[in-house]
């Protein structure tokens, strides 16, 4: 599956939506990030990035074989997700520190699978703590506790 195809598909979608946005691909160590930039970024970002999340879901559903091969596919718009991701990572690190200092389990969520992965990766950087997803829905809570 070529990155160019994914970029082209995302461009086709925003063009059909009549949005002034340009898609470009950025290779990441674990996959690819499609960045959308332009005048109409707000249309995807408004209401907590509702339309951006919808686009992300559709792209992931279409290119599901990519994910099966361990390649992450992220669609971003004007750095919105990157900012959110960094924020979530900082929160996870803060809670991991709190769990370590207090010995009390910390809870974060509900989070979707993409967000949970960010939390698990962040917690893995801190020693003496561990993280676990609980719940049986699409959105689960992550518990961060001392090992």
């Amino acid at each position: 599956m070529a990155t160019a195809d994914i970029t082209e598909f995302v461009q086709k979608v925003v063009d059909a939506m009549d949005l002034d946005l340009e898609a470009s691909a950025e290779e990441m160590p674990d996959g690819v990030r499609i960045n959308l930039n332009g005048e109409d970024g707000n249309v995807l970002i408004r209401r907590q990035g509702e339309a951006l999340a919808a686009l992300q879901h559709i792209v992931a559903a279409i290119y599901r074989h990519e994910a099966a091969e361990g390649r992450r596919l992220v669609v971003d718009c004007m750095g919105y997700r990157k900012g959110k991701d960094d924020e979530l990572k900082q929160m996870a690190l803060f809670l991991a520190g709190k769990a370590k200092d207090s010995g009390l389990a910390q809870e974060i969520g509900p989070l979707n699978p993409y967000e949970r992965r960010i939390v698990h990766l962040a917690v893995a950087e801190v020693d003496k703590v561990t993280s676990e997803s609980i719940g049986d829905a699409f959105e689960k809570t992550v518990i961060i506790s001392v090992k």
């Binding site: 598909f9 086709k12 979608v13 063009d15 059909a16 939506m17 009549d18 949005l19 249309v43 995807l44 509702e50 339309a51 999340a53 919808a54 686009l55 879901h57 559709i58 559903a61 279409i62 699409f138």
Partner: protein
């Protein structure tokens, strides 16, 4: 003006195993634009998604695009037999 029919076709064809069976009809009903998406029976599940999540995502994109044109839209999804 957004090409919502084109948007639905592009997404449905990309999701479908039988893209040639994808068909979108557009009509007006009480001031709203109604889109009827027809796909092969075998593709219905993929287009709708688990717990209807893919269909919901497509509807979100449609309303986002329609919002700026001050239009109201709705989307029906069915297979050739009319099942949805």
């Amino acid at each position: 003006m957004a090409d919502l029919k084109g948007l639905i076709e592009a997404v449905a064809r990309a999701l479908a195993d039988q893209p040639e069976a994808v068909n979108v009809r557009e009509s007006e009903r009480r001031g709203a634009t109604v889109y009827e998406l027809q796909v092969a029976s075998g593709d219905l599940g993929r287009v709708i998604g688990r717990q209807g999540r893919t269909a919901a995502a497509l509807r979100t994109l449609l309303s986002s695009a329609a919002e700026d044109d001050d239009k109201r839209v709705s989307l029906d999804i069915r297979d050739q037999t009319g099942r949805s």
